[in-house]
């Protein structure tokens, strides 16, 4: 059984833990400038949307990035609409997965 990615997990943990612990252990971080706090607040939506958009819109062909259009767009759009409407991420994921699975089962994608 492969264990190579355990080292990656350890590295990810190593860069995550300081953001959780530093202010608790070094209270001076409480006094971060307002601009820095605002930037941190906005990193989440920016990174997450960048990840989602790059995943569904950028594919690869012959080792080069290419613009991709597919059923995944519709699935992600449906998830986003459901999350915005019902405030329920899990429901959004289920609907997205069912949409893609259904389209593939019917030979539409």
């Amino acid at each position: 059984m492969s264990v190579g990615l355990v080292a990656l997990a350890a590295l990810m943990g190593a860069v995550t833990y300081p953001s959780r612990a530093t202010p608790l252990l070094a209270p001076w971080v409480e006094r971060l400038p307002a601009g820095a706090r605002l930037y941190l607040r906005l990193v989440g939506p920016a990174v997450l949307s960048a990840l989602a958009a790059a995943d569904v819109m950028v594919g690869t062909a012959g080792g080069h990035p290419v613009f991709h259009v597919g059923i995944e767009w519709l699935a992600v759009a449906a998830s986003v609409i459901l999350v915005a409407w019902r405030r329920n991420l899990f429901l959004g994921l289920i609907v997205g997965v069912v949409l893609v699975a259904g389209a593939r089962a019917l030979g539409l994608a």
């Binding site: 252990l25 409480e30 990035p65 899990f90 997205g96």
Partner: protein
């Protein structure tokens, strides 16, 4: 060891507040378990072994970055890129930690260091509400919120998903490949609480795609994650103009603005 009291305006009894905390934790635990299962399945689909999938849940314990890592690793991204994206995604924990620090500063460093390991969107939201209800901190309450609501269900169901994932011959047939982008987009929606967040999200995606096409997905994602917040900052009044009554109130507001809404909770 005495509890740290901070002005809160309310003081429910400790027992009553802990009961409420348990009920809230149970609700989140169901959702967290569901996400853990999906993560385990997605990780196996991406080629992770069960040991690797579970190790990531235990060592990182941060759902969004774990889903991101699954997608990025399966896409062939080099480890430094995965680690950088992880650091960016999890930087929001600074806000939660800083908001909790005044309540917990009387505890020993070792205890605070241990508490930091299980600090997630959920444990922050549950514990800060609990502390404010009772008017002081409660270490037992913190552990209840962190362990019962998220750590146990997330890790147990990761193991279940990783074990079941190997039995699925062609996961893309079941649409599991869309879990990653749908989870990322859904989480982004959950974090959009105002115009600035919306602009940051749109700018992040708007930078990631063209740069991803021109240079590569990694460069696009990192650039989107770095430039998006700057665009968001330009989309509203200066931060000082939004300041609350004091440093702690402002910090708490920032942390609350960064946390997932409660009914989307479950992803550590």
């Amino acid at each position: 060891m005495s509890a740290q009291a901070l002005p809160s305006g309310t003081s429910a009894s400790l027992a009553a507040s802990r009961r409420r905390l348990l009920v809230e934790s149970a609700g989140i635990a169901i959702s967290s378990g569901g996400f853990g299962l999906v993560y385990g399945l997605a990780a196996r689909h991406a080629g992770f072994s069960p040991v690797e999938a579970v190790a990531m849940s235990v060592l990182v314990f941060a759902g969004a970055s774990q889903f991101a890592a699954v997608g990025l690793v399966s896409g062939g991204l080099a480890w430094p890129g995965v680690v950088l994206v992880t650091a960016l995604l999890n930087a929001r924990h600074l806000l939660y930690s800083a908001a909790l620090a005044p309540w917990l500063r009387h505890l020993g460093r070792g205890r605070r260091a241990a508490m930091a390991y299980v600090l997630t969107d959920e444990s922050f939201a549950l514990s800060i509400a609990h502390f404010q209800r009772i008017g002081h901190d409660d270490e037992v309450g913190y552990w209840i919120g962190a362990i019962a609501s998220t750590w146990i269900p997330w890790n147990v169901m990761t193991l279940v998903g990783a074990a079941l994932g190997g039995e699925v011959a062609d996961p893309s047939r079941f649409g599991l490949d869309v879990v990653f982008p749908a989870a990322m987009a859904g989480l982004a929606v959950g974090l959009v609480t105002g115009r600035r967040e919306l602009v940051a999200a749109v700018a992040g995606a708007g930078v990631a795609v063209p740069l991803g096409l021109a240079i590569g997905p990694t460069a696009g994602i990192v650039a989107g994650g770095l430039v998006g917040p700057l665009a968001g900052m330009l989309a509203g009044p200066r931060p000082a103009a939004e300041a609350g009554p004091g440093p702690r109130a402002t910090l708490l507001d920032d942390a609350r603005a960064a946390v997932d809404p409660p009914d989307e909770a479950g992803l550590p």
